[in-house]
Assembly symmetry: C2
Homo-oligomer: 419 residues x 2
């Protein structure tokens, strides 16, 4: 009877859960094949430049780990993560003003999985998540998977606007919506590159506290500032209302998949249980490698090296933008990996992407960073991975593509450009 459900392409089509239909191939993922062709300058990625790490440094960590930890490094570990590493994470977070206990830290499989597990703990179908506009594509994917409605709050060069936040909350409450949390990347945000201004931080927290809205502070880039340190973390100002997510992917290497969450005690307890259910425990091997790296190397000097690399690349990117696309508005980040570019009226970054790839340059279209279908006239440039020379070449090629689009628009009107 039910044996004929499904179709030729997928005999199990009728069996999927409702949430399975929220999954779709993202703009970013569709670019993976492109990125790997060497002739294409990829400004799409988001990959850290791990070549800036000395190779023998990891070998030292490996040998020291096996010597000290032995079989513990390859055995099951606890669901909360390695205690020694959690203590080191505590010190790392102290650099941004955070006071914490090892008891409240949970190691995760990249901060992505921390966000995934937290979203599972809080989001019921139809709940609202507040986010910056634009916001991190990987977070939007998770929120969509849990069938949340993402409400983008107006964000300018100083980060999220407290007034706009208050206004959004009032409007949503009036409409009877349940707001579960505010998600934001306060430092060198992905994709905008902007940093939440110091004076806005207590205001954002005060508004959320007053409305009993939890804050998820995602901070993978905070230590990668170019000139001066970022303002203290939101978590340093509010221990009860902020969950903090951090990662080793950008200050060391993403291949270990190690991130961490600092949460209020009751939430932390639930997070550990959710983690045990999902993966039993995070990798002891990866965690202990990082723990040894932190114990035996001058990791702060290594972060300085990364900062220098990314500062030089940011300068190359902004220089090339000034040289080849002087009329376009772009953010000017004080750290991190990204420029956020506003295209001329009528130019659609998603429609333009195939033309750009034909010109051997790739970027991420702005629509990837909105849950509401907007962002067509924006694009993200990631300058972290290519060399300065390649960045300049890529932006030169991008300029050719954009200028052709604007020429078409000038000649034939808006319908002439790719869309």
């Amino acid at each position: 009877m039910s044996a004929n459900l499904g179709n030729n392409l997928d005999p199990w089509l009728s069996a999927y859960a409702e949430r399975a239909h929220t999954l779709s191939v993202s703009e970013v993922r569709a670019l993976f094949a492109v990125v790997s062709r060497p002739e294409v300058v990829s400004l799409a990625g988001g990959m850290p430049y791990v070549a800036a790490l000395p190779k023998d440094l990891l070998e030292k960590s490996y040998l020291s780990m096996m010597e000290k930890k032995g079989l513990l490094a390859i055995q099951y570990g606890g669901g909360q993560g390695d205690l020694t590493l959690r203590d080191q994470v505590r010190e790392l977070m102290a650099l941004e003003g955070i006071r914490s206990s090892v008891e409240d830290i949970v190691m995760t499989t990249g901060s992505q999985h921390g966000l995934e597990l937290l979203s599972g703990l809080f989001i019921d179908e139809g709940d609202v998540v507040l986010a910056e506009g634009p916001s991190y594509v990987g977070a939007l994917g998770i929120f969509r998977h849990y069938q949340a409605h993402v409400e983008h709050v107006y964000t300018d060069h100083d980060g999220m606007s407290p007034e706009a936040l208050e206004e959004s909350i009032d409007r949503l409450k009036e409409a009877g919506r349940t707001i579960k949390f505010l998600y934001l990347v306060p430092n060198f945000a992905n994709p905008s590159g902007v940093t939440l201004a110091k004076e806005r931080r207590p205001k954002i927290l005060e508004i959320c506290k007053r409305h009993h809205i939890l804050v998820l502070e995602d901070n993978p880039y905070g230590l990668l500032y170019f000139d001066k340190p970022v303002p203290d973390a939101l978590r340093s100002l509010d221990e009860e209302g902020v969950i903090y997510l951090g990662s080793f992917s950008k200050i060391l290497a993403p291949g270990f998949r190690v991130g961490y969450v600092l949460a209020p005690p009751a939430i932390k307890d639930k997070l550990i249980l959710a983690q045990e259910s999902a993966i039993l425990c995070p990798s002891a091997f990866s965690q202990m490698m990082i723990s040894e790296y932190l114990a035996n190397s001058d990791w702060q000097a290594q972060i300085d090296t990364f900062r220098g690399v990314y500062r030089e690349r940011k300068d190359a990117a902004l220089g090339a933008m000034h040289e080849f696309l002087p009329k376009l508005e772009t953010t000017k980040p004080d750290g991190g990996f990204y420029l956020w570019v506003t295209l001329p009226d009528g130019v659609d970054s998603k429609a333009m992407l195939p033309l750009a790839v034909k010109e051997l340059v790739a970027y991420t279209p702005g629509t990837a960073f909105y849950g509401d279908g907007t962002g067509h006239n924006k694009l993200r440039i990631c300058y972290s991975y290519p060399t300065p020379e390649r960045i300049r070449l890529g932006i030169q090629r991008l300029a050719n593509v954009i200028n052709l689009q604007t020429d078409l628009l000038d000649t034939f009107g808006k319908k002439g450009a790719a869309n």
Copy 2:
């Protein structure tokens, strides 16, 4: 207004999603603290004996990986997992009769995460999952988290009964329930230690096919047989209706958190998307370590070593059961890690556990392996980790505790025993 929701213990109590309330501390987890005390003989664990691995073997893998793969080992990888390793997994699965393509294999963070992601793809609240009775505690936790109803199908010394399966399906369909899949561990099951008989395999598959029910075959122990290889995998008999889950946790080491899923193409595509949403990509570092291990070592000889270790420990466990608890019924596994013991009438394994720990022995109570509250008069003995001498000592202590319980029952009737 809503600012006063919550309580003193957890100010965010009102904010959790419905599924968060499905999380509870499991019997197994509560034992972790006990396990770590050296004076306690833990027959609870489930940990592989990784000390049987030569230490320098992993060092060779590490050095060879860094030499060959270099920075790729610490960079983001693809969402489906490392291609070289997937090809090696293909060869590994061929040992159990499975023909597959690298295209249909997805590497996961342990097979636990494979099961978690698949459950997310298929289970809507209230759906039914069919499982052996008893079934793997970690799977039951996931199914509970997705708010499934677990229906245990009668299982004897030859594994799940096809007749009972048919009868369960008929009854559930009559009641209008939606059955999403059958989950089973066909070889040396956790916790029962039993293996699904060869002649039952096509019958189980035929029944599921006729009712359009997907089969999830979880096979972490299949290669750890004592004397003769297990029957060919269910997946070898049905490519379209079976999803196969495998793991390196038991044949190499769990600290890497590397498992894999072989799925029909359309499901595999969705699984990759779900994985990218949850963790971006599995750890390149862990995957490449294992890939080098498989490429450069006699891993089949290493599995033989593990087989010898576990066979000796199984013999020690069964010998001690025969010596100290000759009247108790226990399964006699042909491989894997576990004995499943039936206690005398009226003895409750959960209530008895604190008394056992006081006598310096730990086990896992039977209730952990049922989703329906049954299993009180069963317990699981895991013999994989302690030495044969410690296993004997542990079972001797266990006998003292059980005998005291039966003495109490004989003297005072059923209400006298701990419960």
